[in-house]
Symmetry: none
């Protein structure tokens, strides 16, 4: 199993942080490895403390289902196939945009999760981080 290194995780967090500063929204930024386990986490000064857990859950969820959490969001709505998904592992699974799997040579080696702003902002900052892989 290939997995992200701390060095790479840190580079992604730096890239995401720069994007967060560019848009002026302090963010919580988390990276998990191929096993879904937290590799690195930074909370920018002033970022929401309620988003500490959310950023980590987004990263975990993106790896747990090997897809962006943005893709999960429509599926967990009432009357949709994954309605209630969050209850399967409370605190760890969340279907907000802002979680993105990290792929290298066709293999998923981890995921990044960002929380601290509007979900579109979270997604944008996570994408900036993922692009630095």
């Amino acid at each position: 199993m290939s997995t992200i290194t701390l060095k790479s995780a840190h580079r992604l967090i730096e890239a995401a942080s720069a994007e967060a500063e560019r848009i002026g929204v302090p963010m919580n930024i988390a990276v998990v490895d191929a096993g879904g386990n937290l590799t690195a986490f930074h909370r920018q000064d002033g970022a929401w403390i309620g988003s500490i857990a959310i950023s980590q859950a987004k990263a975990y969820t993106a790896r747990a289902f090997d897809m962006p959490t943005a893709d999960l969001q429509p599926m967990v709505q009432p009357d949709q196939p994954l309605y209630g998904l969050e209850a399967s592992d409370p605190g760890n699974i969340i279907a907000f945009p802002g979680g993105i799997p990290l792929t290298q040579d066709g293999q998923i080696i981890g995921a990044i999760g960002v929380s601290g702003g509007l979900v579109d902002q979270d997604q944008q900052v996570a994408a900036a981080g993922a692009a630095a892989l």
Copy 2:
């Protein structure tokens, strides 16, 4: 980071209690500090015991996301961006009106949360408490 003192928290609880008595609905009233940690809590005689936890979660949530919980409520509905937010930290996050951040000199120093009546009543009592800062 400035944080609310017990003395100030108590003054807010007294003001909220007076408003609760005025409208005749016994309330649970909680204040958390800048770190989101409980500073003071009063349950008026006869207030719902199910609302003990809710009032504390409202106060914590208002600080966790630095906004009134009333603003969160529309965002957590089905098909809205934060649908499922409560599952990110079960028992601590709730999106009912009645949680209000407390701001001093432009800094958030804590939050008040009230539960025990209709959400409009909770919100009204919390606002009366917050106004006493």
Copy 3:
């Protein structure tokens, strides 16, 4: 069922707070009612945040077993009859001194729990609070 009022709970907290100030140790002070539910809680400025939960658990435990938590402490030690008691309700049951049931006319109407110093200090402050009933 007779149960402590908020007014009485507040009087106990004031008495306990005065004792805490006298010995110079900021304390977390909790009072639960006859049903074991939190009635009032004050954290003195600078009191340990880790003791928020402990003070409440001491109060709950004193009511849950209708005895001072100091009496429980020897019973939960290895090879003693209640070894492992805390695991019966994690976060709510604790066997440290500092929790005292409150009795009126032969009936237990609630309990007080104090945490923030050495257990002897906690016990002393709880006793000062209970004496104000």
Copy 4:
């Protein structure tokens, strides 16, 4: 209440990481702020995944009780005053050496927690981090 910045937290993590590399034991390193909330976390490549939570709990516990977790360890042994402390907040409170409060101008502004080796190694790496404040 003063609180640690992300920049300072990162500097501490870098110093702790250097010490971990020097002794050849990959570590999980966590920093919490004055409110006990996670500010930054790094897991060095190959560090135990079981120690992710432990490092964070050590940092939280050091802030929760404003003392090194090494000081708590003797107190939580059977027949000692704080036996059973961990059960007061399962997952967040732990009494292993390796958690150290961070003090600036006489105020505690956060804490560092390290886990991944023998507790003496954890303590040594945490101390190296704390010294970089």
